[in-house]
């Protein structure tokens, strides 16, 4: 069967500007593969990002995009989705963007279970600002901003945070496995509710600890070890394995998924009329409105 959209249809004319070898290339490819597999119409897809190396991603695809300010991609995306729930809204960004400056929005977007897919290119460092510590940097890691004692804070664990905040699809991918990641992204997009795909995406320039090899030596596939993604308790147990319990084995794949929770859009009264963007403007019953003030 001939597909309507070729893989290349989704590519823009702008070439990615990342350092050669950057993990973000794999995330871009995984996303492009997923939307191609789903044959999404490029004009009905909006990719929203914040600021960071990773947040440049929307420019490299031929969909609509909004390259927002640092840390605010999620609320911009939520505004887009609520204005027109027919759009496929995808958010991309870095760990600093989403788990640092934007962590408040991250939690609230998840507790809304709004139907958005969030891809975080988690490189455990600030790339664009040339190598400071990030909220996911491992304890002890020396960076430009932690040159003496290394990082002395505990890392944020996005997987546990997502489970605790009400996300209904929680997964971890790795840039060393584009195929696996694109499966996770594809299922995240078709998932009815908020989906987080935390993508371990090595920064080859500023993170010399959490490299491709670091991950290759440690990752394993949750599905192959019989993890049941409908079991939230089991998901929590898997989530805290790394970075909290040990750092020898890092689970990849789907931690948790449920379709039983209504989305934000399902519950929002104003959307019963259909997408706000298609609604007529103005008021037809002005007198009824004014009577309240008489």
């Amino acid at each position: 069967m001939k597909l309507e959209f070729e893989m290349d249809t989704y590519k823009s004319e702008i070439k990615p500007t990342w350092c050669p070898g950057c993990g973000d290339f794999a995330v871009l490819r995984a996303l492009q593969t997923a939307i191609h597999a789903l044959q999404l119409e490029p004009w009905n897809v909006v990719i929203v990002s914040g600021i960071g190396c990773s947040s440049n991603l929307p420019h490299f695809l031929s969909t609509y995009g909004f390259h927002a300010i640092h840390g605010r991609a999620l609320p911009v995306a939520e505004g887009v989705k609520l204005a027109n729930p027919e759009l496929q809204v995808i958010v991309t960004g870095g760990d600093g963007d989403g788990y640092g400056i934007g962590v408040g929005h991250f939690i609230h977007a998840m507790r809304r279970n709004i139907d958005i897919t969030y891809l975080v290119m988690n490189n455990q460092i600030y790339g664009l600002t040339t190598g400071q510590a990030s909220p996911t940097s491992e304890k002890g890691m020396k960076t430009k901003s932690t040159p003496i004692a290394g990082v002395i804070e505990n890392p944020v664990d996005p997987i546990s945070l997502a489970l605790a905040s009400g996300a209904t699809y929680v997964a971890r991918g790795f840039s060393g496995d584009v195929k696996g990641m694109s499966e996770l992204v594809k299922n995240g997009i078709t998932h009815h509710g908020f989906s987080l795909i935390d993508c371990m995406s090595p920064c080859v320039t500023y993170n010399k600890v959490n490299t491709y090899d670091f991950f290759r030596e440690r990752v394993y596939d949750l599905a192959k070890e019989g993890h049941d993604p409908s079991d939230m308790k089991a998901a929590f147990a898997k989530a805290i394995e790394w970075p909290f319990v040990q750092r020898d084995r890092i689970p990849l794949g789907l931690f948790y998924r449920t379709e039983d929770v209504p989305t934000y859009e399902d519950l929002e009264p104003a959307l019963k009329k259909g997408p706000p963007v298609h609604q007529p403007l103005g008021v037809t019953d002005a007198d009824a409105l004014l009577d309240e003030f008489l």
């Binding site: 440049n56 505004g79 103005g282």
Partner: protein
Amino acid sequence: MSRRDIVARIGGAAGDGVSSTAESLAKIFARSGLNTWTYSSYQSVIRGGHVWTQVRGGLDPVLSQGVDPDIVMCLNQQTMDVHQGDVVEGGAIVYDLDGTKPDPKKLRKNVRLIGIPLRKKAQTLSANALMRNTVALGAVVRLFDLDFRHVESAFRDIWGDKKPEIVEQNIQAAKLGAAGVDEAGGSLKYGLAYTNQAKYLMTGNEALCLGALAAGVKFLAQYPMTPASSILHWMAVHGPAHGVVVKQVEDELAAMNMTVGAGFAGVRAMTATSGGGFSLMVEAIGQAGMTETPLVAVLVQRSGPSTGLPTKTEQGDLNLALGAGQGDWPRAILAPRNPEECFSLTAQAFNLAEIYQTPIIVISDLYLGEGYRTVDKLDFNVPIVRGMMAADGGISKEFRRYLITESGVSPRAIPGTKGFQHVAATDEHMESSELISDVLAGLPEHVEERRKMHEKRMRKLVGLRKDTPRPELWGPRNADLTLILWGSTWGPAHEAILHVDESDGVKVNSLEFPTVLATSPGSSLA
């Protein structure tokens, strides 16, 4: 000579029901055909403290809450202590005979003391002590010779058909208050000829919501903050029936960023806050300026700095609105003076935002936003102009979202429109929206490109200046003194101008700015 206007002041502790009693009185005034104006002095506690509201009604247009009251209604001793000396000659004080004491030495001449056992009377009807306010309200209505019909209809509005027995009890309570006045010598006999033709009564915030609905707002995201919260409250009740998504969100950063997203997606979107919240929105409103995303931001000022005095009015945030955001981007700031303009300028703000694809700020304040005023019937037939859409031209080949044009406005396309895909970018960008900041910034031709792009955006000011209300001169042309003003000070200023002309023969006029624009170098006001 019979009187042309009346003023009542109601005071008590927070939790005494001062504001609901005052709202009922304002409604009664408006339904009697009076031009009505209220002012509330309250504070940030839910119980205790001293709160009072002044309600003024006039046969002629009123322009402020007035100065000294004809009647003070004291719901506690503190109200008596603070306000008894303000009552005008020949006025009256209504108070609870049990537990409240006037000090005759502090009163002006011929002030009548209407002591009624308010609580005891109320308790003959129900255990609910709040009805003592109703007894006192009945006394005020009688003192002013207002028609009791309006008392009944006001109560029916509050409790509705669901609780007819409560409506009935309150009517009886009010009658007990009126009887108390009759026993104490009857009404003030001011002799106002009430038309009893009801007038519309609303706050500036409510009028602003109506203007937004008339213009087709479809999205409101807000975080509660006095005195902007009543916008959220009103819209939460009425918005969804008109297809408006109304959201209380996690903070003002989210509120502004969601509004940006909704504006980008093609709906008319709005957020509202006070100075503290607006401060948090600053980076994100600049984002709308840079990405050329339409939205309306409402700034209802209260007194600052910082948390300031949350329940007092101030016009201290003009600089904040004018200077919001790093760098420079085109904006218009509309400053309504009264509820009618809260309605019309908000409706206009949505047109300007879409025509010029930039944030438009509506700046108001507590005095205007929360005060009740009577207004003429609002005309919902407002023009709706959505600005230049790329799809109207039909050509999507090599669509350039940030096309450099003479007007500074580039054709806009909303997501979902086939063939016009683009990325809205907060980094400086080229016509195609490719970033200049990224790999191109080192090349001299792209530095030139940045200059052109900035100038393109700022050229929108030329059109904005043309399309926004001009400054107005009010009063005599050759005045001894000119007051320069914007926003809610309009009413009291006009009243003062009329007053000094009449009493001192001093000629004063006012130069008023319904629009405050960020001007670019070389521009002038004229």
